[in-house]
Symmetry: C2
Subunit: 473 residues, 2 copies
């Protein structure tokens, strides 16, 4: 196994090395796209199963809408088509013929879905509409940045419609909270919930809410978004429903998406120089057992290892029986893959009924009695899940600044980077200037931001709120 | 609710009516494509969860390969590209530019996957390769036949590779058996497992195995296929691995797919003039409770209905509380949707603690004591699952013929249709002539076919086996 570049030396090279060598994913022959290998896809399956249960619990149902969207549909919402057109992939030829109408490979499904909503739902009794889909979307990229920026990615896109603005906003915030919960409870990734500025919002949305997570290199990752579409799309598609009094009204709509991009955040947030560090709840393999034996003890040690494995069958446990790799090689391999716990099993362990658990995150080694195995492992995995989240939260807090001085702002963005809270007058020109001068953009207005009397860090004009700034992926 | 066309009058119109009116699916604005609505998608989710568990149990892991395949890849296996080229959708324009190499929207993923296998796997230790993916594929169609023939469909495609021909064939037959199990145990659809003739096999395969199910209109549905690819693709991609002795060898490969087309078979096989009939195991809603009340008893009856619902919480139970529909309308609605059991709850039931269960398949009404509710429902649902399968099996057997007389063969294909076992010499010209004259094709050589001394039903030359013939979807 070749070495991976240390994270501290070159975070970007480290990131690619880790993904390729831990076999999470690979480049595909088409520029801008990637292959998600089984070990990486298992992370996505963990995310899907965690989120899908909560989505269904809310009463939202899964469906499937077509991959191809007629070009004219995309054009119905002006901002929407302007936002997406540079990134579209277009089918012009199919079934042996030039198409009379070009087909867009969906970059997102608002337009095709809302055309159907208009056909299906006509009365207040049909609302709320609560529909989600798990699918693939395409937004053209010339260069692949594995997981973080790829022409095709997997996601879920929820698209609900309500009679009232209030109910609509409840769904928008429920989805944002679902994403926060997934990041925090499953993936151990801390972040800030907030509102996007108008220049950063989704093309066609009234308001966009985001979960922004800080990565250890000081850059922020927009980790998922939930959009209040207001009545924009309903009007663009001329979709009305009759309310209880027989009046036609445009439904209020929202859309919310969580993608395989999140896996990039998971890797960046927790990994170290030895490779991935996976929180136990999302880890495809939670425990690996490595038997250590000489030829004459092989059978006995393997038999004992299998016993240990069966004691741990309520966890995702793997027994590494390859006989062409040394124990040292195996330790490195499973560290690289971020498996939370490693158990070494040899003659000594058999004799003493004492096992050593090696913890991936802290590298501690913990000795336990075999009789306590299941309970100890459960406790340790729970502890690790919390510790990994806490470490990321702490890293975020240590790299979060607040300043009223633009020189200091610039200095931070040149050196350690990180999150900066700063007053902004909400004029897009100041936002643009700050971006040009520091590469930092407004990440969001945190949901819990206080209203204050301040002055814009750029133009000094009055500003009511401290926005969260950072450079971003 | 508008009437549906009786199945006996026009099976094809009935089929479309049922799908649209039960809200399983709808036509999408792009010709050849469809939208799978939540009620239809829930069927696919049942199938996915049933199959995915068995796929994982076999050690096959899920992954995700890109939607776009470079044109040159598809051309590597000659038969493969010839088979698929009339049906391809092609992206020629992306990210604001004409592409230098056209991209094919995957019709199936052999070529993109095997290019990666070649990069990843080099030694006998890396085999078997056991990979599956759940995704969407595109094979252009001008006219949509909902579920049965659509330009885009959802499926799983398994792609394994082995060191030996024997192991490879074990996987091919395991997959075929997985499909049989899914059809028979989950979907209640009887069918025949067998080998495809060379003209009907998958483009690029050495052998194709199929599950063929007879529909009540006398036509067969090719319901899923498992392919022995031999070394064809390994050679086309020049993929070799080193065996235990250090010799390079081409791995043996297989691929197997099960698609949303199967839902078309489910609908056709069991439905009746009142709509869908869903086997309980796959039904998104297994039991519906319809409360029947007058204004003055409303609260009491609803409260009692909720109690009944909570007693049935281990089943997928729905309580229909809409107050703008009559009980009769509701009965029709849930019958149309194929819900296995309906429970009517009114004052009489409350007083007597006796409930009436209406069975969707046989339309029987069964009175039971409320105290026995859970046990009775469980027993009844199990019974229905078996009865629905048995009924389809019986229908298939009643419409299966064996003949050595070509005039009789033609007569059957003109009238009742169905399956016909007939000797065939395995000359593709006879197969083609039979198709032209009777519209019937060879469906398969059943796995359990005996070797006999017969003569071809068409040319009278010696023939060893009776093949299964039918007209097909």
């Amino acid at each position: 196994m070749k070495e991976i570049t240390p994270k501290s030396k070159d975070a970007s090279k480290w990131y690619t090395d880790v993904i390729l060598k831990s076999e999470l994913a690979d480049y595909s022959p088409v520029k801008g796209t990637m292959v998600i290998r089984p070990y990486g896809f298992a992370l996505w399956e963990s995310i899907q199963s965690f989120m899908d249960r909560l989505i269904k619990k809310r009463g939202v149902k899964n469906a499937y809408f077509p991959l191809f969207i007629p070009e004219r549909f995309l054009k119905k919402e002006k901002e929407h088509v302007e936002g997406f057109s540079p990134q579209l992939a277009v089918v012009t030829y199919a079934g042996g013929e030039e198409l009379t109408e070009k087909l867009i490979v969906r970059p997102t499904s608002e337009t095709i879905m809302y055309e159907m909503y208009k056909q299906w739902f006509h009365s207040w009794r049909d609302l709320p509409v609560l529909i989600n889909q798990w699918n693939n979307v395409v937004r053209w990229e010339k260069r692949t940045y594995l997981f973080l920026r790829t022409s095709e990615f997997l996601w879920q896109e929820g698209h609900c419609a309500h009679l009232t603005e209030k109910e609509n906003m409840e769904t928008v915030l429920w989805a944002l909270n679902l994403y926060k919960k997934t990041y925090q409870e499953l993936m151990g990734v801390y972040g800030i919930c907030g509102l996007k500025s108008s220049s950063e919002k989704f093309a066609g949305a009234k308001k966009t809410f985001t979960y922004e997570a800080l990565m250890p290199d000081g850059k922020a990752l927009q980790s998922s978004t939930s959009h209040d579409l207001g009545q924009n799309f309903a009007k663009a598609f001329d979709w009305t429903v009759l309310d209880q009094n027989g009046n036609a009204l445009y439904p209020y709509q929202n859309s919310w998406g969580f993608s395989t991009r999140s896996i990039g955040g998971l890797i960046l947030a927790h990994g170290d120089d030895n490779g991935l560090v996976l929180p136990p709840k999302i880890a495809p393999i939670q425990i690996v057992i490595v038997p250590i034996y000489k030829t004459e003890t092989k059978n006995k040690v393997i038999e004992y290892s299998e016993k240990i494995k069966s004691l741990l069958r309520s966890f995702r446990t793997e027994l590494d029986l390859r006989d062409d790799e040394t124990a040292g090689f195996k330790f490195n391999k499973w560290e690289l893959k971020g498996v939370p716990l490693r158990i070494e099993v040899g003659e000594k362990e058999m004799a003493g009924q004492i096992l050593t658990l090696a913890r991936r995150d802290t590298k501690e080694k913990i000795k336990i009695k075999q009789a306590d195995l299941k309970v100890s492992v459960k406790k340790l995995l729970d502890e690790m899940q919390k510790a990994i989240f806490f470490k990321h939260k702490q890293m975020t807090e240590e790299n979060t600044h607040q300043t009223e001085d633009y020189d200091e702002f610039k200095k931070i963005m040149k050196t350690t980077k990180g999150f900066i809270y700063a007053f902004w007058c909400e004029n897009p020109q100041c936002e643009e200037k700050i971006k040009q001068e520091t590469k930092a953009t407004t990440r969001c207005l945190p949901l819990d931001a206080k209203t204050e009397k301040g002055s814009c860090i750029y133009c000094q004009k009055p500003a009511k709120h401290r926005w969260l700034f950072a450079q971003s992926y």
